[in-house]
Amino acid sequence: MFEDGLIFLNELFLERLNYVIYVVLLLIGLHAMIAKNNFIKKLIGMSIFQTAIILFYVSIGVKEGATIPIYLPEHDPHGEQAYATGGPEALTVEQVTSYANPLPHVLMLTAIVVGVATLGLALALCQKIYQGYGTVEEDELMAKLEKEDASSRKPKTHPAGKSSSKPEVSSRAKRSGTNSVGKTTAPQAKKSSGARKTKAPVKKATRKSDQKKGDSK
Protein backbone atom coordinates (compact mmCIF):
# COMPACT_ATOMS: atom_id res chain seq x y z
CA MET A 1 0.00 0.00 0.00
CA PHE A 2 2.73 2.40 1.04
CA GLU A 3 4.92 1.46 -1.87
CA ASP A 4 2.03 1.88 -4.26
CA GLY A 5 1.56 5.37 -2.97
CA LEU A 6 5.26 6.06 -3.37
CA ILE A 7 5.21 4.87 -6.96
CA PHE A 8 2.13 6.97 -7.57
CA LEU A 9 3.82 10.05 -6.13
CA ASN A 10 6.98 9.36 -8.09
CA GLU A 11 5.04 9.07 -11.30
CA LEU A 12 3.04 12.16 -10.50
CA PHE A 13 5.88 14.46 -9.59
CA LEU A 14 8.68 13.28 -11.79
CA GLU A 15 7.05 12.20 -15.01
CA ARG A 16 3.94 14.30 -15.01
CA LEU A 17 5.12 17.52 -13.48
CA ASN A 18 3.47 19.48 -16.27
CA TYR A 19 0.06 18.13 -15.35
CA VAL A 20 0.65 18.73 -11.66
CA ILE A 21 1.71 22.31 -12.25
CA TYR A 22 -1.25 22.85 -14.51
CA VAL A 23 -3.58 21.72 -11.74
CA VAL A 24 -1.77 23.87 -9.18
CA LEU A 25 -1.92 26.99 -11.34
CA LEU A 26 -5.56 26.35 -12.09
CA LEU A 27 -6.31 26.08 -8.38
CA ILE A 28 -4.33 29.25 -7.64
CA GLY A 29 -6.34 31.09 -10.26
CA LEU A 30 -9.63 29.67 -9.07
CA HIS A 31 -8.90 30.56 -5.46
CA ALA A 32 -7.94 34.08 -6.47
CA MET A 33 -11.12 34.50 -8.46
CA ILE A 34 -13.26 33.40 -5.53
CA ALA A 35 -11.46 34.76 -2.51
CA LYS A 36 -9.60 37.90 -3.54
CA ASN A 37 -11.24 41.14 -2.63
CA ASN A 38 -9.83 43.42 -5.29
CA PHE A 39 -11.25 43.19 -8.79
CA ILE A 40 -7.87 43.65 -10.47
CA LYS A 41 -6.53 40.76 -8.40
CA LYS A 42 -9.51 38.72 -9.51
CA LEU A 43 -8.70 39.50 -13.12
CA ILE A 44 -5.06 38.51 -12.66
CA GLY A 45 -6.37 35.28 -11.17
CA MET A 46 -8.59 34.84 -14.19
CA SER A 47 -5.62 35.24 -16.51
CA ILE A 48 -3.63 32.71 -14.51
CA PHE A 49 -6.54 30.29 -14.76
CA GLN A 50 -6.60 30.83 -18.50
CA THR A 51 -2.87 30.28 -18.98
CA ALA A 52 -3.11 27.13 -16.87
CA ILE A 53 -5.64 25.68 -19.29
CA ILE A 54 -3.48 26.71 -22.23
CA LEU A 55 -0.54 24.98 -20.54
CA PHE A 56 -2.62 21.82 -20.31
CA TYR A 57 -3.51 21.91 -23.99
CA VAL A 58 0.05 22.56 -25.11
CA SER A 59 1.45 19.80 -22.86
CA ILE A 60 -0.95 17.35 -24.44
CA GLY A 61 0.38 18.22 -27.89
CA VAL A 62 4.01 17.52 -26.96
CA LYS A 63 5.73 14.52 -28.52
CA GLU A 64 8.98 13.18 -27.22
CA GLY A 65 11.83 14.03 -29.56
CA ALA A 66 9.65 15.95 -31.99
CA THR A 67 10.52 19.26 -33.58
CA ILE A 68 8.41 22.37 -33.95
CA PRO A 69 5.48 22.08 -36.38
CA ILE A 70 7.27 23.68 -39.32
CA TYR A 71 8.45 21.45 -42.15
CA LEU A 72 12.12 20.73 -42.29
CA PRO A 73 13.50 21.45 -45.78
CA GLU A 74 13.93 17.76 -46.52
CA HIS A 75 10.35 16.92 -45.51
CA ASP A 76 8.60 19.81 -47.23
CA PRO A 77 6.42 18.29 -50.00
CA HIS A 78 6.89 21.39 -52.10
CA GLY A 79 10.51 21.96 -51.16
CA GLU A 80 13.41 21.69 -53.56
CA GLN A 81 14.38 18.19 -52.41
CA ALA A 82 10.85 16.87 -52.95
CA TYR A 83 10.78 18.15 -56.51
CA ALA A 84 14.08 16.47 -57.17
CA THR A 85 12.55 13.09 -56.31
CA GLY A 86 9.18 13.68 -57.97
CA GLY A 87 5.87 15.41 -57.28
CA PRO A 88 4.58 16.43 -53.86
CA GLU A 89 3.91 13.49 -51.57
CA ALA A 90 2.29 13.30 -48.17
CA LEU A 91 4.53 12.56 -45.22
CA THR A 92 5.01 8.98 -44.05
CA VAL A 93 3.95 7.83 -40.62
CA GLU A 94 7.49 8.02 -39.20
CA GLN A 95 7.87 11.52 -40.49
CA VAL A 96 4.52 12.50 -38.96
CA THR A 97 5.67 11.40 -35.50
CA SER A 98 8.71 13.65 -35.77
CA TYR A 99 6.57 16.81 -35.63
CA ALA A 100 4.71 18.21 -32.65
CA ASN A 101 0.94 18.23 -32.83
CA PRO A 102 -0.11 21.57 -34.39
CA LEU A 103 -3.81 21.43 -33.52
CA PRO A 104 -3.57 22.46 -29.81
CA HIS A 105 -1.22 25.27 -30.80
CA VAL A 106 -3.76 26.69 -33.22
CA LEU A 107 -6.60 26.48 -30.73
CA MET A 108 -4.55 28.17 -28.01
CA LEU A 109 -3.10 30.86 -30.26
CA THR A 110 -6.51 32.34 -30.88
CA ALA A 111 -7.44 31.81 -27.23
CA ILE A 112 -4.56 34.03 -26.07
CA VAL A 113 -5.56 36.96 -28.28
CA VAL A 114 -9.22 36.63 -27.37
CA GLY A 115 -8.09 36.41 -23.75
CA VAL A 116 -6.40 39.81 -23.85
CA ALA A 117 -9.47 41.31 -25.54
CA THR A 118 -11.74 40.01 -22.81
CA LEU A 119 -9.25 41.20 -20.18
CA GLY A 120 -9.48 44.68 -21.67
CA LEU A 121 -13.26 44.51 -21.57
CA ALA A 122 -13.22 43.45 -17.92
CA LEU A 123 -10.81 46.28 -17.08
CA ALA A 124 -13.16 48.75 -18.79
CA LEU A 125 -15.98 47.47 -16.60
CA CYS A 126 -13.73 47.91 -13.55
CA GLN A 127 -13.08 51.52 -14.50
CA LYS A 128 -16.79 52.11 -14.90
CA ILE A 129 -17.45 50.62 -11.46
CA TYR A 130 -14.76 52.84 -10.01
CA GLN A 131 -16.31 55.93 -11.60
CA GLY A 132 -19.68 55.02 -10.17
CA TYR A 133 -18.79 53.87 -6.68
CA GLY A 134 -15.24 55.04 -6.05
CA THR A 135 -13.94 51.59 -5.21
CA VAL A 136 -13.01 48.30 -6.80
CA GLU A 137 -12.92 46.35 -3.54
CA GLU A 138 -15.66 43.79 -3.38
CA ASP A 139 -16.68 44.24 0.26
CA GLU A 140 -16.76 48.04 0.06
CA LEU A 141 -18.76 47.85 -3.12
CA MET A 142 -21.20 45.43 -1.50
CA ALA A 143 -21.57 47.68 1.54
CA LYS A 144 -22.28 50.67 -0.68
CA LEU A 145 -24.77 48.76 -2.74
CA GLU A 146 -26.57 47.53 0.37
CA LYS A 147 -26.67 51.02 1.80
CA GLU A 148 -28.14 52.35 -1.41
CA ASP A 149 -30.64 49.55 -1.50
CA ALA A 150 -31.71 50.12 2.09
CA SER A 151 -32.02 53.86 1.64
CA SER A 152 -34.28 53.44 -1.34
CA ARG A 153 -36.44 50.91 0.49
CA LYS A 154 -36.90 52.73 3.82
CA PRO A 155 -37.07 56.45 3.18
CA LYS A 156 -38.15 57.35 6.74
CA THR A 157 -35.06 56.22 8.54
CA HIS A 158 -32.65 57.39 5.89
CA PRO A 159 -32.70 61.00 4.76
CA ALA A 160 -31.00 59.99 1.53
CA GLY A 161 -34.24 58.42 0.32
CA LYS A 162 -36.10 61.70 0.72
CA SER A 163 -33.65 63.53 -1.44
CA SER A 164 -33.72 60.80 -4.02
CA SER A 165 -37.46 61.02 -4.57
CA LYS A 166 -37.92 64.72 -4.04
CA PRO A 167 -35.80 66.11 -6.87
CA GLU A 168 -37.60 63.82 -9.21
CA VAL A 169 -40.96 65.32 -8.38
CA SER A 170 -39.74 68.86 -8.26
CA SER A 171 -37.95 68.56 -11.55
CA ARG A 172 -41.13 67.29 -13.09
CA ALA A 173 -42.97 70.23 -11.63
CA LYS A 174 -40.37 72.57 -13.03
CA ARG A 175 -40.53 71.06 -16.43
CA SER A 176 -44.29 71.43 -16.57
CA GLY A 177 -44.13 74.81 -14.91
CA THR A 178 -45.24 76.68 -17.98
CA ASN A 179 -48.27 74.44 -18.25
CA SER A 180 -51.40 75.16 -16.30
CA VAL A 181 -51.16 71.73 -14.76
CA GLY A 182 -47.89 72.65 -13.15
CA LYS A 183 -49.72 74.50 -10.40
CA THR A 184 -51.81 71.52 -9.59
CA THR A 185 -48.97 69.04 -9.53
CA ALA A 186 -46.70 71.02 -7.30
CA PRO A 187 -48.97 71.09 -4.26
CA GLN A 188 -49.73 67.47 -4.69
CA ALA A 189 -46.10 66.63 -4.64
CA LYS A 190 -45.64 68.72 -1.55
CA LYS A 191 -48.54 67.07 0.14
CA SER A 192 -47.27 63.66 -0.68
CA SER A 193 -43.81 64.35 0.57
CA GLY A 194 -45.18 65.84 3.75
CA ALA A 195 -47.58 63.05 4.51
CA ARG A 196 -45.22 60.30 3.62
CA LYS A 197 -45.39 57.34 5.92
CA THR A 198 -45.04 54.33 3.73
CA LYS A 199 -43.74 53.90 0.30
CA ALA A 200 -46.98 53.09 -1.48
CA PRO A 201 -48.74 56.48 -1.19
CA VAL A 202 -45.73 58.30 -2.53
CA LYS A 203 -45.67 56.16 -5.56
CA LYS A 204 -49.37 56.62 -6.11
CA ALA A 205 -49.08 60.36 -5.82
CA THR A 206 -46.26 60.64 -8.29
CA ARG A 207 -48.05 58.33 -10.63
CA LYS A 208 -51.19 60.45 -10.39
CA SER A 209 -49.27 63.59 -11.20
CA ASP A 210 -47.66 61.77 -14.06
CA GLN A 211 -51.02 60.79 -15.39
CA LYS A 212 -52.32 64.29 -15.11
CA LYS A 213 -49.35 65.59 -16.96
CA GLY A 214 -49.85 63.05 -19.64
CA ASP A 215 -53.52 63.92 -19.92
CA SER A 216 -52.81 67.58 -20.27
CA LYS A 217 -50.47 66.88 -23.12
Binding site: V20, L121, A124
Partner: protein
Amino acid sequence: MKNTSLIPVVLVGFLLFYASTDFPEWGDPQSPASSSPVSSHFIAKTGVDTEVPNMVTAVLADYRGFDTMLETVVVFIAGMAVLAILRNFSRKKPVKRGHEVSVEPDLIVTNTVRLVVPVIQIFSFYVLAHGHVSPGGGFQGGVLMGASFILIALSWDLERALTRFPINRCMVVAALGILLYAGIGVLSMALGGEFLDYAELEKVLPVSREMARYHAMLGVEIGVGFTVTAIMFALYANLSSRGRLEGGL
Protein backbone atom coordinates in the same frame (compact mmCIF):
# COMPACT_ATOMS: atom_id res chain seq x y z
CA MET B 1 -15.55 34.00 2.52
CA LYS B 2 -11.91 33.15 2.32
CA ASN B 3 -12.27 29.87 4.13
CA THR B 4 -15.43 28.76 2.41
CA SER B 5 -13.76 29.36 -0.94
CA LEU B 6 -11.25 26.67 -0.05
CA ILE B 7 -13.98 24.01 -0.23
CA PRO B 8 -14.59 24.18 -3.99
CA VAL B 9 -10.88 24.72 -4.61
CA VAL B 10 -9.91 21.61 -2.68
CA LEU B 11 -12.73 19.66 -4.28
CA VAL B 12 -11.71 20.67 -7.80
CA GLY B 13 -8.07 20.02 -6.95
CA PHE B 14 -8.81 16.55 -5.66
CA LEU B 15 -10.81 15.68 -8.76
CA LEU B 16 -8.18 17.03 -11.12
CA PHE B 17 -5.33 15.25 -9.36
CA TYR B 18 -7.36 12.08 -9.45
CA ALA B 19 -8.01 12.59 -13.15
CA SER B 20 -4.40 13.45 -13.93
CA THR B 21 -3.39 9.83 -13.34
CA ASP B 22 -5.43 8.99 -16.43
CA PHE B 23 -3.78 11.57 -18.62
CA PRO B 24 -1.46 10.16 -21.28
CA GLU B 25 2.23 9.94 -20.54
CA TRP B 26 4.04 13.18 -21.02
CA GLY B 27 5.42 13.40 -24.53
CA ASP B 28 3.92 10.10 -25.63
CA PRO B 29 3.64 10.05 -29.45
CA GLN B 30 0.85 7.45 -29.18
CA SER B 31 -1.34 9.57 -26.93
CA PRO B 32 -4.91 10.03 -28.18
CA ALA B 33 -4.41 13.68 -28.97
CA SER B 34 -1.29 13.11 -31.04
CA SER B 35 -2.34 9.94 -32.81
CA SER B 36 -5.79 11.16 -33.79
CA PRO B 37 -6.42 11.09 -37.55
CA VAL B 38 -7.12 14.82 -37.61
CA SER B 39 -3.71 15.98 -36.41
CA SER B 40 -1.93 13.28 -38.41
CA HIS B 41 -3.78 14.49 -41.46
CA PHE B 42 -2.78 18.07 -40.76
CA ILE B 43 0.86 17.16 -40.37
CA ALA B 44 1.00 14.86 -43.38
CA LYS B 45 -1.10 16.79 -45.87
CA THR B 46 -0.59 20.48 -45.10
CA GLY B 47 2.41 20.78 -47.35
CA VAL B 48 0.71 18.89 -50.17
CA ASP B 49 -2.51 20.85 -49.98
CA THR B 50 -1.30 24.37 -49.40
CA GLU B 51 2.42 24.76 -50.02
CA VAL B 52 2.83 26.41 -46.60
CA PRO B 53 5.66 24.98 -44.49
CA ASN B 54 4.29 26.30 -41.20
CA MET B 55 1.49 23.94 -40.25
CA VAL B 56 0.14 26.20 -37.53
CA THR B 57 -0.49 29.03 -39.97
CA ALA B 58 -2.04 26.69 -42.48
CA VAL B 59 -4.39 25.12 -39.96
CA LEU B 60 -5.20 28.53 -38.48
CA ALA B 61 -6.03 30.32 -41.69
CA ASP B 62 -7.14 27.54 -43.98
CA TYR B 63 -8.43 24.37 -42.37
CA ARG B 64 -9.94 26.19 -39.41
CA GLY B 65 -10.50 29.48 -41.21
CA PHE B 66 -14.09 29.85 -40.07
CA ASP B 67 -13.04 29.53 -36.44
CA THR B 68 -10.34 32.17 -36.83
CA MET B 69 -12.72 34.55 -38.58
CA LEU B 70 -15.14 34.44 -35.70
CA GLU B 71 -12.30 34.76 -33.17
CA THR B 72 -11.35 37.95 -34.96
CA VAL B 73 -14.97 39.05 -34.70
CA VAL B 74 -14.78 38.39 -30.96
CA VAL B 75 -11.74 40.67 -30.69
CA PHE B 76 -13.58 43.29 -32.73
CA ILE B 77 -16.67 43.07 -30.52
CA ALA B 78 -14.53 43.39 -27.39
CA GLY B 79 -12.98 46.57 -28.77
CA MET B 80 -16.38 47.97 -29.69
CA ALA B 81 -17.70 47.14 -26.23
CA VAL B 82 -14.80 48.91 -24.53
CA LEU B 83 -15.45 51.94 -26.69
CA ALA B 84 -19.15 51.84 -25.87
CA ILE B 85 -18.58 51.40 -22.14
CA LEU B 86 -15.85 53.96 -21.61
CA ARG B 87 -16.10 56.63 -24.31
CA ASN B 88 -16.74 59.97 -22.64
CA PHE B 89 -17.69 62.96 -24.75
CA SER B 90 -18.20 65.53 -21.99
CA ARG B 91 -16.15 68.71 -22.24
CA LYS B 92 -15.76 69.07 -18.47
CA LYS B 93 -12.26 69.05 -17.03
CA PRO B 94 -11.54 65.61 -15.69
CA VAL B 95 -10.86 65.03 -12.02
CA LYS B 96 -7.13 64.85 -11.45
CA ARG B 97 -5.86 61.41 -10.74
CA GLY B 98 -3.96 60.78 -7.56
CA HIS B 99 -0.45 60.24 -8.81
CA GLU B 100 -0.48 62.28 -11.95
CA VAL B 101 2.63 64.15 -12.92
CA SER B 102 2.51 66.38 -15.95
CA VAL B 103 5.97 66.62 -17.42
CA GLU B 104 7.40 67.31 -20.80
CA PRO B 105 8.12 64.21 -22.86
CA ASP B 106 11.64 63.07 -22.18
CA LEU B 107 14.22 63.93 -24.83
CA ILE B 108 16.13 60.67 -24.65
CA VAL B 109 13.00 58.57 -24.67
CA THR B 110 11.39 60.37 -27.58
CA ASN B 111 14.50 60.16 -29.70
CA THR B 112 14.93 56.48 -28.95
CA VAL B 113 11.30 55.86 -29.80
CA ARG B 114 11.76 57.79 -33.03
CA LEU B 115 14.55 55.35 -33.87
CA VAL B 116 12.80 52.24 -32.70
CA VAL B 117 9.23 52.62 -33.91
CA PRO B 118 9.97 52.25 -37.65
CA VAL B 119 12.00 49.16 -36.88
CA ILE B 120 9.13 47.68 -34.88
CA GLN B 121 6.66 48.41 -37.65
CA ILE B 122 8.86 46.88 -40.33
CA PHE B 123 9.39 43.88 -38.08
CA SER B 124 5.64 43.54 -37.64
CA PHE B 125 5.19 43.49 -41.42
CA TYR B 126 7.91 40.87 -41.61
CA VAL B 127 6.22 38.75 -38.95
CA LEU B 128 2.89 39.04 -40.73
CA ALA B 129 4.17 38.22 -44.18
CA HIS B 130 6.76 35.64 -43.15
CA GLY B 131 4.32 33.76 -40.95
CA HIS B 132 3.95 31.10 -43.63
CA VAL B 133 7.54 29.96 -43.33
CA SER B 134 8.47 30.84 -39.75
CA PRO B 135 6.59 31.41 -36.52
CA GLY B 136 4.34 34.41 -36.85
CA GLY B 137 1.17 35.47 -38.53
CA GLY B 138 -1.64 37.92 -38.39
CA PHE B 139 -2.20 37.95 -34.65
CA GLN B 140 1.44 38.46 -33.73
CA GLY B 141 2.09 41.03 -36.44
CA GLY B 142 -1.05 42.93 -35.53
CA VAL B 143 -0.19 43.00 -31.85
CA LEU B 144 3.34 44.25 -32.63
CA MET B 145 1.93 46.98 -34.85
CA GLY B 146 -0.50 48.05 -32.14
CA ALA B 147 2.36 48.00 -29.63
CA SER B 148 4.31 50.47 -31.76
CA PHE B 149 1.42 52.96 -31.55
CA ILE B 150 1.13 52.31 -27.82
CA LEU B 151 4.84 53.09 -27.55
CA ILE B 152 4.27 56.45 -29.21
CA ALA B 153 1.40 57.15 -26.83
CA LEU B 154 3.54 56.21 -23.84
CA SER B 155 6.56 58.30 -24.71
CA TRP B 156 4.80 61.46 -25.91
CA ASP B 157 1.14 61.54 -25.04
CA LEU B 158 -2.06 60.07 -26.35
CA GLU B 159 -2.87 62.97 -28.67
CA ARG B 160 0.29 62.45 -30.64
CA ALA B 161 -0.50 58.80 -31.21
CA LEU B 162 -4.07 59.72 -32.07
CA THR B 163 -2.95 62.17 -34.74
CA ARG B 164 -1.24 59.25 -36.40
CA PHE B 165 -4.05 56.79 -35.85
CA PRO B 166 -7.33 58.52 -34.93
CA ILE B 167 -9.92 56.50 -33.10
CA ASN B 168 -12.43 56.76 -35.94
CA ARG B 169 -9.90 55.39 -38.37
CA CYS B 170 -9.09 52.74 -35.79
CA MET B 171 -12.61 51.41 -35.91
CA VAL B 172 -12.77 51.70 -39.69
CA VAL B 173 -9.55 49.70 -40.01
CA ALA B 174 -10.83 47.09 -37.56
CA ALA B 175 -14.02 46.64 -39.55
CA LEU B 176 -12.02 46.62 -42.77
CA GLY B 177 -9.95 43.72 -41.51
CA ILE B 178 -12.98 41.56 -40.91
CA LEU B 179 -14.41 42.70 -44.23
CA LEU B 180 -11.21 41.61 -45.97
CA TYR B 181 -11.36 38.23 -44.25
CA ALA B 182 -15.01 37.63 -45.02
CA GLY B 183 -14.57 39.12 -48.48
CA ILE B 184 -12.00 36.51 -49.43
CA GLY B 185 -14.42 33.88 -48.16
CA VAL B 186 -17.28 35.31 -50.19
CA LEU B 187 -15.05 35.67 -53.24
CA SER B 188 -14.19 32.00 -53.13
CA MET B 189 -17.91 31.33 -52.76
CA ALA B 190 -18.66 33.44 -55.81
CA LEU B 191 -16.07 31.53 -57.80
CA GLY B 192 -17.94 28.29 -57.25
CA GLY B 193 -16.46 26.90 -54.06
CA GLU B 194 -17.61 27.00 -50.48
CA PHE B 195 -17.15 29.80 -47.98
CA LEU B 196 -13.41 30.25 -47.30
CA ASP B 197 -12.52 27.56 -49.83
CA TYR B 198 -9.46 29.37 -51.07
CA ALA B 199 -8.49 26.86 -53.73
CA GLU B 200 -11.15 28.32 -56.02
CA LEU B 201 -9.17 31.54 -56.17
CA GLU B 202 -6.94 29.93 -58.79
CA LYS B 203 -9.51 31.15 -61.31
CA VAL B 204 -8.56 34.77 -60.65
CA LEU B 205 -4.94 34.35 -59.54
CA PRO B 206 -2.35 33.27 -62.13
CA VAL B 207 -1.03 30.48 -59.90
CA SER B 208 -1.64 26.85 -59.09
CA ARG B 209 -4.30 25.61 -56.66
CA GLU B 210 -1.86 25.21 -53.79
CA MET B 211 -0.28 28.58 -54.38
CA ALA B 212 -3.75 30.19 -54.50
CA ARG B 213 -4.36 28.89 -51.00
CA TYR B 214 -0.99 30.31 -49.96
CA HIS B 215 -1.84 33.77 -51.24
CA ALA B 216 -5.38 33.73 -49.89
CA MET B 217 -3.96 32.85 -46.50
CA LEU B 218 -1.71 35.88 -46.72
CA GLY B 219 -4.74 38.06 -47.44
CA VAL B 220 -6.62 36.58 -44.54
CA GLU B 221 -3.67 37.16 -42.21
CA ILE B 222 -3.53 40.78 -43.33
CA GLY B 223 -7.20 41.13 -42.42
CA VAL B 224 -6.57 39.65 -38.98
CA GLY B 225 -3.58 41.95 -38.58
CA PHE B 226 -5.69 45.04 -39.38
CA THR B 227 -8.32 44.15 -36.81
CA VAL B 228 -5.91 43.21 -34.07
CA THR B 229 -3.77 46.33 -34.59
CA ALA B 230 -6.74 48.66 -34.38
CA ILE B 231 -8.38 46.94 -31.43
CA MET B 232 -5.19 46.73 -29.36
CA PHE B 233 -4.56 50.43 -29.81
CA ALA B 234 -8.20 51.33 -29.14
CA LEU B 235 -8.11 49.26 -25.95
CA TYR B 236 -5.07 51.12 -24.67
CA ALA B 237 -6.33 54.53 -25.76
CA ASN B 238 -9.65 54.12 -23.99
CA LEU B 239 -8.36 52.44 -20.86
CA SER B 240 -5.49 54.84 -20.23
CA SER B 241 -7.56 58.01 -20.57
CA ARG B 242 -10.88 56.86 -19.10
CA GLY B 243 -12.54 57.19 -22.48
CA ARG B 244 -11.59 60.85 -22.94
CA LEU B 245 -8.83 60.19 -25.46
CA GLU B 246 -6.60 62.97 -24.19
CA GLY B 247 -3.58 63.37 -21.96
CA GLY B 248 -0.80 60.98 -21.14
CA LEU B 249 -0.91 57.95 -18.96
